[in-house]
Amino acid sequence: MNSKNTSEPGGAAILKSASIKKFSLFSNETLEFSSGLNVFIGKNGCGKSHLIKLLYTLVKECGNAPGNGSALEAEKLENRLASKLAGVFRPEGDRIGRLVQRKTGRGSAEVSATFSNGKKCGFTLSTLDKISGSKGNVGTLNEAAFLPSREVLALFEGFIAAYKKRELSFDETYYDLCVALSANQLRGRREEMLDELVRPLETEIRGKVSLEGGRFYVTGSDGSIEAHLLSEGWRKLASLAQLIINGTLTRNGFLFWDEPEANLNPRMVVQLSETLLRLAKQGIQIFVVSHDYLLTTRLSLASEYPDAIPEDQRCPVKFFGLVRRGSDEKGVSVSSGSKLADLQDNPILAEYAALYDYEGGLFEKTQSRN
């Protein structure tokens, strides 16, 4: 897809599975991921964002950056993981032991990720903040981008410098994203596949994204418009376009996106669903948290009718439903399947069903008076 791919013969590894014990709300879960699109749904407070932040931490720190060979081997994995967990989760006082599942007394969390090359990476974390990382090297992992639910294009100007000075209370995913967005766009003629990915986004936002003097602009037939003046939905799509154009999102790379549907109108959600499928088709492994009926249903239909959707959107899709469980509801259980209907519990659908029942009740009342 771009120069990074061609420089990695054999390709970088992607995430195959993760085993999570006593971390956050997860008592003991093993998750097998799709090589394409992974969609996490569940009510608020079920640990969805924690889960994709954890996966992001693992893929960000467990491998070597493309082209760096073993340059990072000397650096202790524990230190990298501890720093990343503290930055991404922002526990009070950087006490990462607070991420261990809350129970009386001391305990420890165990997290392990298995990659497509069969290699593993993980850590054990105690409530006393002590972390130990697994030995060995999982090899090359391509770039991982994390898009938080709030878009950052409007925050971008001066964000990186202010974050480094610890003047901002945003978590590290915002900083990482700003760094990724700041990368130069790939030079020369855009490759055809890249163009196919970006063109629909540029059509939607009515222009091309550029970074000039520390500010993002979208330039179209109406001239250049600074990101601040665009709608938040457009800024989200512009961010995605920039990450594609500058080569951050590349084959065997990773995209994590927390509630991409926020601030998008339904038409843009449809555009987004098609873009996610195209990105996954191009070999980017995607992890999405969503509460949106339209987005999740569109993605499920792609899984239900694989031969009927456009060729460039055919990719593996997997859904994960997170549900609070137990009488105290302190843990979560996870069900999974290739379609939304496979999930044991779908809170989005349940709310729509409840809405139907509510309207039915109101309709019934009108039938009892005239």
Binding site: Y352, A353, L355, Y356, G360, F363, T366, N370
Partner: protein, 192 residues
């Protein structure tokens, strides 16, 4: 008076709280009068449509009911389940309301047209119900979502008429007073 009406493979049994319940699209007025309004516009044929049933309940007021049973031929009707069927019901309702006004202006005796048009007056309840069966409705939560979406379209298309609309199926609680719906032999089976 209690009345049972068979539509496709279902029986709609209206209890004694219903002053009127009849298959409107089978009436002579529709078949011989209202249907005369037809022709071609831009080479597209148009004709007068009609709902299946008109009912008048002592308390609930006027009901326009359309029954669709897609069980057994899901693929042929898939696009209709995804929204078109609501538009079809809305158009049938429009034409039926217009036809009732016409019937009240003619010496029609086969149904109580004056009473029915009086029930359309402002301030009186009028309900438009699509009773829909589909093979995909076995999963009740998914069925409710689809029914809700279909009702959204129906409501939108009939907002000009100021009526209550709802889409029902046998898998969910019946919201209509004094009406029982049962399957007839062969219901849900593929059509030959």
């Amino acid at each position: 008076m209690p009345t049972s009406l068979d539509i496709e493979k279902q029986r709609f049994a209206f209890g004694d709280q219903w002053l009127v319940a009849f298959k409107y699209d089978d009436t002579d007025f529709h078949q011989k009068e209202a249907i005369k309004l037809q022709g071609r516009i831009d080479d597209i044929p148009h004709s007068t449509k009609a709902v299946d049933v008109i009912g008048l309940h002592r308390v609930s007021g006027l009901l326009f009911l359309e029954a669709k049973d897609f069980r057994g031929h899901r693929i042929a009707n898939k696009p209709r389940v995804e929204g078109e069927v609501s538009v079809e019901v809305a158009i049938k309702t429009r034409d039926t309301v217009a036809a009732l006004v016409g019937a009240a202006r003619k010496p029609v005796t086969e149904f109580r047209s004056g009473e029915l048009t009086a029930a359309l007056e402002r301030g009186k309840n009028v309900a438009v119900v699509l009773w829909l069966e589909d093979d995909t409705f076995r999963d009740v939560d998914r069925a409710k979502q689809k029914l809700s979406a279909l009702n959204g379209v129906l409501k939108s298309k009939l907002s000009w008429l100021n009526v209550q609309t709802f889409v029902l199926t046998s898998a969910v609680p019946n919201r209509l007073n004094d009406l029982t719906v049962t399957n007839l032999p062969g219901a849900g089976q593929p059509h030959p």
